[in-house]
Symmetry: D3
């Protein structure tokens, strides 16, 4: 269980329910996932977070699937289990194939590997990268 109870539609404030409705409409599903139900205790934070998700994750110079894969990468590095689950589901819903998932995992693992080495060795930044 989360550190706060998850709010059902009946328990949520009108402001929070308004966000729930937008989530349902945008995603074409009746399911409002637990993250939003936990955030509903603070309708202002719920609204601010959801507005940011809508703005940031829409198509732009990067497509929505690429953005979901970047999201998975950050979540893996931070060890956020909930986030790895929810954004892997989202990436699949947006078309991530098994092959794409496999390559994503390989890049994450490699980045972790070289991050660990660069941090342990404290390699100084090349002048060439500073230009």
């Amino acid at each position: 269980m989360a550190v706060v109870p998850l709010l059902s539609d009946a328990e949520a404030s009108a402001e929070a329910r308004g966000v729930f409705d937008e989530i349902r409409a945008l995603r074409g599903t009746d399911h409002v996932n637990n993250f939003w139900r936990a955030l509903a205790h603070d309708p202002a934070l719920l609204r601010a977070t959801w507005d940011r998700v809508k703005t940031v994750m829409r198509p732009g110079a990067l497509d929505p699937l690429t953005k979901e894969m970047v999201y998975i990468a950050v979540s893996a590095a931070n060890g956020c289990g909930y986030c790895a689950h929810s954004h892997t589901a989202a990436a699949r819903a947006k078309g991530m194939t098994r092959e794409m998932h496999a390559e994503l995992l390989a890049v994450i693992a490699l980045a972790m590997h070289t991050n660990g080495l660069a941090s342990a060795l404290q390699v100084e930044v090349d002048e060439a990268f500073r230009a």
Copy 2:
């Protein structure tokens, strides 16, 4: 300065120089960046790391630029300064525009934001994500 001296071509072993030459050939540049020169103290680890970079970062189900952006995301979450510098340079060399960089940063920031909330709230994983 790194915790080990960076090895020049003259100081590196033949095995390490072999990797340096592959880096130069693949990247079409004479510059071998500091990370590899620090790793050259252990030619076996240098070789294993470089072979993995070659294999993982080549085109596949994901294109090389997407992979570099995932790399930047992991590096930012881990706070690896060297890695943020080197992979931002690599992403640019592979075609990352200002607009793409800006959207990448926005996704990283949003993922950090929701990772922090999910971790602080300890939101339990939805059954829908476990299927």
Copy 3:
């Protein structure tokens, strides 16, 4: 289950039970939480950790509730689920209201957001901050 069995009072050494008794007395509860029962395998580490908790978390220039909120912030950034649970409970016991919790979460999320940007951008420290 933890990587070690949790020790009951009967299983714990006299030294560990002494710490359990102090925890009960200071907190005015009979419940000794799992963290301490896991640490009881090493009475010296249990004692050192508990003594530090007693010293650091008592009222001083900062009040105990502020300290618990700082504790939650570190735990969220580190992704420590146990710690988020136990210190959110502790903060509530010390008077954290829903409004305070909501603002705490908003600050954590914002700090994660800007930490991610500063790390991805590798912003150099202003001279003004170094004075």
Copy 4:
């Protein structure tokens, strides 16, 4: 140097300069710190981040100094050097004394210590915390 050049007022867009002006006005200083000058490459992200800082960091159920100390805690756990510098400066500007800073550091260190133990031991969450 950051991975992007820092934009001077002359180089920044009108939208970005508008944010710079708000920063100057709110803080009563002419100095716009490097973080904002790096973000100015993306006026929309700059605006969104600054608006969030204004909203989240203002007085509420928690006072602004407490919020800055929470910010320092997250930044230390994430190893964000820039953020540790800038928010320590901000906390001092808002009244953090030496004694408060010392106690903050002691709580951060203790939280890191017990986070490490709880993660290494994988202590299961007490039922008492789940209520």
Copy 5:
């Protein structure tokens, strides 16, 4: 449940089963743990990861038990629960006593403590360490 189903021997490809067999043979057990069964969705990543484990964890200048303890330390700092479990089990299988485990935990906790302080204080590296 993981974000992918765990593959049984019957579900795994011939290439993945080949790795499973090597794991069984090297460890003298019939149990192939969940990590490998999740990785089996990408036989190439499974093979690359397992080959690296075989190479890196064998006796050398450091003995295998020391290597497992280093592995636990990284996993605790990263908050990887699965990894803390699996490598604590591995360390015990290689002879880690209770006393050794207790001292390992104490070092991890101390390193977390001083890491937090050095990051919060942004202590500059001594010239003496750069030589």
Copy 6:
């Protein structure tokens, strides 16, 4: 520069100087490194941290060199540059050879790699590890 000035012997309090003297005596060097000079602003935290270093890092079930290598591993995972520098220097002073350092780095890199995979995949803990 650190977020606090480093205190010289003349600037430090008598209590802090007492710790400086113990550091010099135990290490057989006149150099008191920056970490301790930054901590000297809070003699109580300086004393508590140093006492813990003395207790935890002395020979026991694990030898001091193994402990330093565990320290490096935690510091690399946390991205603490100062700590990577100071504990690599300490490990060398205690006998870490080039070969040992190379193997340590390889284990850190491998642990980062599998931590990233286990976190991205959210692999569930085997029953066998829970016994």
